[in-house]
Structures are given as structure tokens and as C-alpha cells.
């Protein structure tokens, strides 16, 4: 199959899965409608509707190729960073540093990814922005909670911009025998990690008994974790044909990114718990904020990127 055929086949598969989900959601809605409002089913249905929109957005970005994907993830970073900073207690003295984070660091990082300057985009935020933001905050001479404010702003940038930019950065990898197919790496990463989230949610709702981290998140269970990770890992292995990997390699990598995704969810839940909120935002109906949807991807993307770069690139 050509790349285009594989991409179309992949999106057709996702659309088929979503169609089944929509039908199930509709049947559940019909069956329980008479018993009054049912928040869990309503939430399920708004989640499914949002999935349709997100898949459509990703498909649109794919249609535009590299530029489309970079714009999509730059916008996702912007939305995620604004959600993160909104819930971070910054002060007036951080204003300039934050303006630089939003309007300089973020676009420049994606520009560097666009021009494929690996040597700079892989150190730009961890080194240069890291030093610059602390300096800008210091120049304002507001020392109250200085270290905490600087550290939290940097951490937010690392997760929402630096880590997430590794998704479009996959397009710049030179993999022997895989020329012109790198979009499918993004499809593999996003599909496997997101289906892991969905399958953990489904397994947790159906079988969940023992909470896995009750202090962080009451909805994450041992059963959801095992069932979701295992089934999404099998899915990853079954998708080996769109990757440069053998089936067992695809399964191993899927397991790795699913675990990273799970850890991302845990870490971001810990932050939300500390801030006293349930969701990062309200942009995606049924899911919460953009960061609620991408927490797993932000942790999986850099590790996925570097694993492939180290073991597979020329």
C-alpha cells in the first residue's frame, strides 16, 4: 500500500470505531432516557462527539502535510500552556517572562521544528529559555516565591511546548526505507496513546474495583490500567504495518509509550489535585481542557521520538 492508502485505511478504521462508539452511546442514551438524566452516559456521548471533532482536526492537519501538523500542535501547545499558566499562581513580576513564553518561546520552538534544526530545538527551551525566563523574572525584582514561580513556568513550558513539539518533530527523522511515511509515525503515536487512555477509561468503568492511586485520581483503577495498557499494546503490535518496526518491536514500543502516557496522566492529576481542580480547562466538551486530553501524549512523545531516533534513524 502507498502512504496515502495506508493513511486513508487508518482513518477509515478510526471512523469505523467511532461509529460503533456513537451507536453504543445512542443506544445507551435511548435505553436510560426514561430514567431521567444520566451524567455518565451524557459525558460518554459528549466525549465521543469531541473525538469525532479531534479526529477530523487531525485528518485536516494531515491533509496539509507537515505545515498542517506543525500548526495544529503549535495551537495545541498554546491552548495547553494557557491552561497550565492559568492554574499556576504567578505574580505581576512574571508578566514579561510569561509574555516571552507565549509569544517568543512557543512560536520559535515550532519554527525550529519546521526548519528541522534538531541541534537547536532539542536544547532551546531546556537551556536558553530556561536561563532567560529566570533572568526576566529577576529583573522585575519581585522576590516573593521567586524560585517556585520561575520553576513552575519553566515546567509548564517543558511539558506543554517542548515535550509536545516532539510530535511534529517526528516528521524530521530520516529512517532508512521509510521515506515520506513519517506522518504515519504521528498517527501511530497518537492512535496508540489515545486508545490506551480510552481503553483504560472503558476497562475502568466496566471492571474497575481497586483504585490504583486514590490520592491522585479516584477514577484510575488497577483493572483499568492493566486492561487498557494490555489492549492498547496489542493494538500497537497490530499496527506494525504502518511503522518501520517489526510486529514485536511495534508491541514493545506501544507498551513503552502506553506506560509513559499513564505516568503523564498520573503526574498531571497530581498537579490538578494540588490546585484543587478536576479539569485543566473547558475547551473540549466532555473531556475538560486540551491538557486533559494531551497529558499522556506529552509524556510519551519525547521518549518515542528519541527511541526511534537512536535505534532506527540513519
Amino acid at each position: 500500500m502507498t502512504v496515502a492508502q495506508q493513511t486513508v485505511a487508518l482513518f477509515a478504521g478510526v471512523a469505523a470505531a467511532l461509529t460503533v462508539a456513537s451507536i453504543v452511546g445512542y443506544v445507551l442514551h435511548r435505553r436510560y432516557r426514561a430514567h431521567g438524566p444520566h451524567p455518565a452516559i451524557d459525558n460518554l456521548n459528549s466525549r465521543i462527539r469531541a473525538w469525532w471533532a479531534m479526529v477530523a482536526l487531525l485528518g485536516l492537519a494531515f491533509a496539509f502535510g507537515k505545515g498542517g501538523v506543525i500548526v495544529l500542535f503549535a495551537l495545541a501547545s498554546l491552548a495547553a500552556l494557557r491552561e497550565f499558566i492559568t492554574l499556576t499562581p504567578t505574580r505581576r513580576g512574571d508578566h514579561m517572562a510569561l509574555a516571552v513564553a507565549f509569544f517568543v518561546a512557543l512560536p520559535l520552538q515550532y519554527y525550529l521544528v519546521w526548519i528541522d534544526w534538531y541541534g537547536l530545538y532539542s536544547v532551546f527551551i531546556p537551556v536558553y529559555v530556561f536561563l532567560l525566563l529566570a533572568t526576566l523574572a529577576a529583573l522585575r525584582q519581585d522576590t516573593k516565591h521567586f524560585m517556585a514561580r520561575v520553576a513552575e513556568t519553566q515546567w509548564g513550558l517543558m511539558i506543554t511546548v517542548f515535550a509536545l513539539s516532539h510530535v511534529p518533530a517526528l516528521l524530521g527523522l530520516k529512517l532508512p526505507g521509510y521515506d515520506g511515511r513519517n506522518l504515519l509515525l504521528i498517527a501511530f503515536l497518537v492512535l496508540v496513546v489515545q486508545s490506551s487512555d480510552v481503553l483504560q477509561y472503558v476497562c475502568g468503568k466496566l471492571l474497575g474495583r481497586r483504585p490504583i492511586a486514590p490520592e491522585l485520581s479516584p477514577s484510575k483503577t488497577v483493572e483499568g490500567f492493566l486492561g487498557g495498557i494490555a489492549s492498547a499494546t496489542v493494538l500497537g503490535a497490530l499496527l506494525w504495518w504502518i511503522t518501520p518496526f517489526s510486529p514485536w518491536q511495534a508491541g514493545a514500543i506501544a507498551l513503552m509509550i502506553n506506560l509513559m502516557g499513564f505516568f503523564g496522566g498520573l503526574v498531571m492529576s497530581a498537579i490538578k489535585r494540588d490546585r484543587g481542580v478536576k479539569d485543566w480547562g473547558w475547551m473540549i466538551e466532555g473531556h475538560g481542557g486540551v491538557l486533559d486530553r494531551l497529558d499522556s501524549v506529552t509524556f510519551a512523545a519525547p521518549v518515542f521520538f528519541h527511541t526511534i531516533r537512536y535505534f532506527w534513524s540513519a
Binding site: 498554546l78 494557557r82 491552561e83 499558566i85 492559568t86 492554574l87 499562581p89 504567578t90 505581576r92 508578566h95 514579561m96 510569561l98 509574555a99 507565549f102 509569544f103 516565591h145 517556585a148 490546585r275 484543587g276 480547562g281 473547558w282 475547551m283
Partner: protein
Amino acid sequence: MSSLLRPIEAACATAIVIFARLVTGVRGEWRGCAPDPRPRVYFANHRSHADFVLIWTVLPAPLRRRTQPVAGADYWLTGWLRRFMGARVFRAVLIDRNPVSREADPIATMAAALDRNHSLILFPEGTRNTTDEPLLPFRSGLYHLARARPGVELVPVWIENLNRVMPKGEFVPLPLLCTVTLGAPFVLGTGEEKAAFLDRSRKALVALAAPSRADR
């Protein structure tokens, strides 16, 4: 002349609402009441010139057209653009804040708007709060208005984060998310004293603030 400008006024209002939504992602949380067409007084914390725009933005469009911010004439009557925006787009109820020079009683001006079945947006602190305190002491305007129109519902409205979008003295707005929380309406109690009423109103407003982020 005025009817010719009507579409421009409406277009400006829509553009401002869209812009406010884009920059602040503002969400209205109707915690204590639902939108209601009867005249109300929405009273809010005041940290930014754009405060009333956010309240305006979260109101459903039919209510927005009937809701007028109360603003200082000294600010909104200087320059043609402010004059146009204040008088025609926001339809502000302009009051003279200087008790010596003013010709009209501000309370009577506000009450007249309520009598026309319009709602008001009022900032009882009287001026923008640039301190670290959540709220300045209330001026007495809210009390006098409540006494002039005792049946009218007073709705506390807490605006969260707009001061971080554009703090005083900064020139680049940050795209942070804002929330407008509308609390439970109340009215002036029979025989309620001014100090007790203002204290109660102030507490009702502060109670809507997000607890964890007020200060660390």
C-alpha cells in the same frame, strides 16, 4: 443618524465579544442563578477596564442588549472613540463621580435605567483595585441603589484572572483563561442598615473567588 449607526454599533459589540472570547476563553459559571430577563444589578470586583466586557460576554445575547454598565463619565466622555464605545456600543450609564460638579443624581440615573427594564453592571468598589487584597471596601452606591429600587435582585459576579491577563502598567496581554462566576441573587433586607448590607454584599462576592489561587 442614530439608526444609521445601529448596524455599526451591533457589529462592534459582536466583534468585542468574539475578541474577548478568543483572548480570555471566558466561561460564565452560573453558580447561584440562571439568566433572567428581569432587571438585575450585577455587581462585580473591578481590576481591569475590560471587566464589564467579560460580564457582558457571558450573558446570553438578548440579555446583553438590555444590560448597561455603570461607568465614570470622566473616563468615557474623553475622546470620540471612547465616547462612541461608551455611549453607543456598551450603552454605559454614565455618572459623574465628582459630587461637587455633578448635575444629576447618580442613583436616580441608575434607577431610571432599571425602570426601563434594563439591567446594570456595577462595580461597588468605585475604582479599580490594584492592591493585593481581593476587594477594596465598598462605596455606598450599591446600598443607595438597593434602597431606591428595593425589589431588584442583586447578583454578585466574581471575575477571575482578568487582572493577570493585563496587569496595570503592562502592554502585552497574556492569553490566560478567565472565569466569570455569578452567585445567588439577594435583595436589601427590610430595615437593613447600610454597613450591614454592604458587608453582606462584599462577603457574598468574595465567597465566589477561587480559593486556592488567591495567594500562596
